[in-house]
């Protein structure tokens, strides 16, 4: 999941979510970076509207459905 947080962090900071960015954030966290995963992440995010995807999490605040 650290890769995803790196992507979200970059996105929120207004930076491009590219291989260099993700790698350097992960390195700064002391993570041994797996290049293939970075590539896969960036490729998979291509065309994904991140804001839209995470806005769906807004419901998370309400645990109601979970209890259902």
């Amino acid at each position: 999941m650290e890769y995803v947080y790196a992507a979200l962090l970059l996105h929120k900071a207004g930076k491009a979510v590219d291989e260099a960015g993700v790698s350097s954030v992960l390195k700064a966290a002391g993570v041994e970076v797996n290049e293939a995963r970075v590539k896969a992440l960036v490729a998979a995010l291509e065309g994904v509207n991140i804001d839209e995807a995470i806005s769906k999490a807004a419901f998370a605040a309400a645990p109601a459905p979970a209890a259902a």
């Binding site: 999941m1 890769y3 995803v4 947080y5 992507a7 979200l8 995963r37 896969a40 992440l41 490729a43 998979a44 995010l45 065309g47 994904v48 991140i50 839209e52 995807a53 995470i54 769906k56 999490a57 807004a58 998370a60 605040a61």
Partner: protein, 304 residues
């Protein structure tokens, strides 16, 4: 023939009785099932109605108990219906049918209804007075209720039952006073109808407890059995027309679950992965939302 023998030994029995006895024996031999039914407490007109309703399915014959006993006793050794003599008691009649005993039981059970209790009736099951309000205005009724053990009182200008109470246990006699109180409370505890005591089919004698199969329970069992087959199919990956779609769906769900939870960065699940991360972040943010300066305003607004 045995009946004849019996009759032969009982020279004093008049012809009409001999005929009655022979009719019973013939009835036993000409039907698949013969049974003894208790009709205690069933008014004659109701009985006539029941007899008409069962016409064509069940033949009902009212016979003197002594003659019934003689007839059953006269059956040859080894004939199961001979045992029915033991069940001849009280107000009874003999039933014949060519259906099976279960059907007979069901048909007879369908005739049952409830009536108010009379003094001296035996409680067919525990009689319970439920807690709650009644429509009665305060009066001597409260005392009458209390006298027979019903915890009555007055609340809000009405008679109420203060506690749920069992006033008679199954098999106990209902007193005249209690019967009166039960009637006032519109509790109808007594079963009226055709009570099958025993039935014989071929070499088997069935008692009511053998015959009462709970249909709801059976439905549940079928549902359970079908669920078992389905679950087993899915668990073992048994591919049939019935299971292939659920199996595909299971595989797809497992794949998505793995991709989201690992996580594996696949286009199909990226939005799920991102929203999962966001939810995790919000959950953690929520934990620290109350702490001074820990969150920026935008985030604070989201989690509060």
């Amino acid at each position: 023939m045995n009946a004849e023998a019996e009759v032969h030994h009982s020279e004093h029995i008049p012809q009409w009785k001999k005929d009655e006895i022979k009719k019973i024996v013939d009835g036993v031999h000409s039907h698949k099932v013969v049974g003894i039914v208790d009709v205690r407490g069933v008014p004659a007109d109701s009985l006539q109605k029941m007899r008409r309703n069962l016409l064509g399915k069940v033949e009902m014959r009212m016979v003197r108990n002594t003659l019934s006993t003689i007839a059953f006793d006269s059956l040859p050794e080894g004939e199961k219906a001979k045992e029915l003599a033991k069940y001849v008691d009280g107000q009874m009649l003999i039933v014949y049918t060519n259906d099976n005993p279960f059907k007979l039981y069901k048909l007879l059970n369908a005739t049952k209804s409830k009536r108010a209790a009379k003094g001296g009736d035996i409680a067919p099951s525990d009689i319970v007075i439920p807690k709650g309000p009644t429509s009665f205005k305060p009066g001597p009724l409260v005392g009458e209720f209390q006298q027979v053990g019903i915890p009555a009182g007055i609340e809000g200008g009405k008679v109420v039952i203060k506690d749920t109470k069992t006033v008679v246990k199954q098999g106990e006699k209902i007193s005249a006073k209690l019967a009166e109180a039960l009637t006032r409370l519109e509790i109808m505890p007594i079963d009226v109808g055709l009570n099958l005591m025993a039935a014989v089919e071929g070499h088997m004698l069935y008692k009511p407890e053998d015959l009462g199969m709970d249909e709801d329970l059976l439905r549940d069992m079928f549902a359970q059995a079908a669920a078992h087959a389905f679950n087993l199919s899915i668990e073992a990956g048994i591919t049939t027309k019935d299971t292939i779609e659920p199996l595909i769906q299971k595989a797809v769900m497992e794949s998505k679950a793995l991709a989201v939870n690992a996580p594996i960065f696949e286009k199909d699940v990226m939005d799920l992965i991102m929203s999962k991360a966001e939810m995790e972040m919000l959950a953690v943010a929520k934990m620290v939302a109350g702490k001074e300066n820990a969150l920026d305003d935008e985030l604070k607004a989201k989690v509060q």
